[in-house]
Amino acid sequence: MYKYDAVDKTIVSERVEQFRDQVKRHLAGELSAADLQPLRLRNGLYMQIHAHMLRVSIPYGLVSSEQMRTLAYIARKYDRGYGHFTTRQNIQYNWPELADVPDILEDLSKVEMHAIQTSGNCIRNISSDQYAGVATDEIIDPRPYCEIIRQWSTLHPEFYWLPRKFKIAITGATTDRAAVQFHDIGLEVVHNDQQEIGFRVYVGGGLGRTPVIGKVIKEFLPREDILSYCEAILRVYNLHGRRDNKYKARIKILVNAMGIDAFREEVESEWAHFMDGELKLHATDFETMAGFFPAPAYEALESGDSRVQKWRELDTRFRDWYDNNTADHRQAGYRIVNVSLKEHGIAPGDATDAQMDAIANIAEQYSFAEIRTTHEQNLVLADVREQDLLDVWKALDEHRLATPNIGSVNDMICCPGLDFCSLANASSISIAKQINEKFSDFQELYDIGEVKLKMSGCMNACGHHHVGHIGVLGVDKKGEEWYQLTVGGDASNEAALGARLGPAIAKDDVGEAVSSILHVYREQRQDDERLLDTFRRVGVDPFKEKVYAEQA
C-alpha cells in the first residue's frame, strides 16, 4: 500500500499542529464556537446528540495491521472501546473529548493516517472497490489512481469551501462495487480501442434527499488528464453550484438544472484553458504510484485444498461461512475473506477494540498485514491461502467475526440513526435488530440469497436506502418513528433507484413487512433469480399487495 514520503508526513503533522492551535485558541476564547465549527468539521469532528464524533479517513478503504492496531488503541484510550465503520469506508468514534482530539490526530499521524476532509463542504475521502487488485473481474487496479487523486484533493486551496460536500469514487472492475454512478464524480478505469488507459467519467450522481443516477460527461478521458479534468469540473461547480439552499447545493442539482450537455460544454471550455498545464500527469507518475501496489508475494499453489474441502463436508458452520463469506481470488490457491461486522444484535459496522486488534493479528499472520473496509460496512482480508481458511475461520469465529451472512438480508447497511445522529428522524439500529431476529434461521437466509438491505434514519440517506434491493427510510410522523420501504434499488452497474412500496409503516411492523417482501419473492422467483431479478420481471405491485394486505 501507499507509504508516506517526507512531503506527506510534513503535511499531516503540520495539519495536526494547526488543529491543536485552533482548539487551543478556541478553549482560550479567541476562536468562537461558530468559527471553529467549519474548521473542526474539516478534521472530521462533528457535534452529535450526546457528544463529539470523530471520523477518521481510510483512503479507498485500505488499512494495514499496524494502522488497525492504532484504531483499536484510539477506541480503547479515547472512546468507549469500539468504533463504527462507515459506508464511506471510514471509521467513526462516537465519544471523544474535544481537548483529546489533537492527541488522537497525532497518534493517527504516526501510522500515516488522518481525519482531513472527512467532513465539511470539500472533497471527501476517495472510495473504491474493496476487492481492488484481487478481484477476478478486475480490468485495471484502481488504487494508484485513487492515491493520485487523494493527494491532489488534500488541502486543495481552491476547493475547500464548496457549495456542498463532494465525493469521488473509482472502480476498475466489470462489476461495480464502488457505486460510482452515485457519486459527485464517478470514475471507471477503462481501456480505449488502442489499449490506452483512461476513465469513463460520470458526474452528478448521488443519494441524499434527491437521489440521482450519475451521467456520463466523458466517455474516455486519457489518464494523464484526470487531475485537470476533475479541477475543471470542481471549478464550474464551485462557481455555479447553488449556495442559497443547502438541500439544493450538491453538483447533481446543478447538472440537472443545466442539463448534462450544457454542463459538459462549460466544463470543456474551462478545461481548455489549462488542460496541458502542470496538472498533466506523466507515465512515470503512474509507474511510481503503481509501485506502491504490487501483487503481494504469492506462493505458487494449486486451487482447491483437500483439508478445506473435507471440513466443508464435515462442519456445516464452516461450510456456511466458506460459501457466504469468502470469494474467488484471481490467484490460484487463494481466496478473499469477508469479515462480517453484522453479528446479530450488534449495530451494523461496529467493532470493538479487541476485535480490531484480533483482525490486525489475523491479517498479519494470514493476509500480508493488510485489511480493507467496505462501503457495506464489513472488512476484507484480501489474500488468504485456501489452506489457511480453516484457521482463519476459527480465529475470526473466536472474536464473533465469522457470522456467515455476507450478502444476505442480515448483512445490512445502516446509518447510526436516532441513537447517535443529530439529523436522524428515526432509529435504524433497532430496526436492524428486529430484522436480525426475524431471520435467525440461516438456512432460510441462504434460501433467500442475495439481498442488499439498506437503511437510513432520515432522508439524508447515509444508509443508501435508495439503492437497497430493499430500502428502509426512517421518517418522523408527529413525533413517532415510521418507515418507508422501497424495492428494486441497485448501486452497481445497472444503477437503479428503488420503487416506493406505499405509505410508511409503523416501527414494530418493519420486520414483518420485510418478511412479506421476501415471501412474495420466494413464491414468484424463477430458476436462480435473485430478489432484484424477480422484482425487475414482476414489478412492484405483488410486493405492495402483500405488504399492505398484512398491514390491513
Binding site: I11, R15, L31, D35, L155, P157, R235, N238, L239, G277
Partner: protein
C-alpha cells in the same frame, strides 16, 4: 457563463455583495501589518460617480465599468471589487489600469472568490494586489494566499499579530497554485 454581461439586468445589493462601506485601520499586505486608508464602497441603488468620497476607495464592479476614465483620472489608487457572484472576466481588458482587485467575503464559507483569485492570477496574469476583505480571518489566510491573494483586511476583533502565524502553518503542498506551489508529482519527478 459570464454572469453579468448585461449591466442593466445586473442585480444590485444581492446577499453576495457587501451591504455597508468597510474601512479598517490596518491591513496585512505581503505578510506584513501596514496602516490602511482604503475605503470599500458598498453598492447601493442610488450610488453614482458624484457620491464617491475623496481619498483611496475601492468601487463595485459596475461603477468601474460605467465610469472607468473618471475613476482613472482621480488622484487616488484604482481599486475594483469583484463580488462572489461576479466574474473577473469582466475586468479582462482593464488590468493595466487597475492596481487592486478587492474580493469581498460576505461569509468566509462562500468559496467562489477563491476561484476568482485563481483566475485573476493564472488566467489573466493579473500582477497587481488582490485583497480579501470582509469575513476573512486567521484560518482562511493560508489558502487565500495560495490561490493568489496577497492582501487582507480582517475584522477589527481579530488579532493581526496572531494571524500572521497563518502563513507559517504549512511548509509543503500537493497542488500547483498561484503561490508558486507545484504539483507534488512534478516535484517528485525532479527528485527521481
Amino acid at each position: 457563463m459570464a454572469t453579468n454581461r448585461n449591466l442593466k439586468a445586473r442585480p444590485k445589493a444581492t446577499p453576495s455583495r457587501i451591504q455597508e462601506n468597510i474601512r479598517t485601520a490596518k491591513a496585512i499586505v505581503d505578510q506584513k501589518i501596514v496602516a490602511n486608508d482604503l475605503l470599500h464602497v458598498a453598492e447601493t441603488e442610488e450610488l453614482g460617480l458624484s457620491d464617491l468620497p475623496n481619498g483611496n476607495i475601492s468601487v463595485p464592479l459596475n461603477i468601474w465599468l460605467e465610469n472607468k476614465s473618471d475613476l482613472i483620472s482621480r488622484d487616488s489608487v484604482v481599486a475594483v471589487q469583484i463580488a462572489a457572484d461576479e466574474d473577473p472576466e469582466d475586468l479582462a481588458n482593464d488590468f493595466s489600469d487597475v492596481e487592486i482587485v478587492v474580493l469581498p467575503f460576505v461569509t468566509h464559507a462562500d468559496g467562489r472568490s477563491y476561484s476568482h483569485a485563481h483566475k485573476l492570477r493564472e488566467r489573466y496574469g493579473f500582477k497587481g494586489q488582490i485583497r480579501a476583505i470582509g469575513d476573512v480571518k486567521f484560518d482562511q489566510l493560508d489558502f487565500l494566499t495560495r490561490v493568489g491573494c496577497n492582501a487582507f483586511e480582517l475584522p477589527e476583533s481579530e488579532n493581526l499579530e496572531t494571524a500572521l502565524q497563518a502563513f507559517e502553518e504549512f511548509s509543503e503542498v500537493y497542488q500547483p497554485a498561484a503561490d508558486g506551489g507545484r504539483l507534488i508529482f512534478s516535484k517528485r519527478r525532479a527528485i527521481h
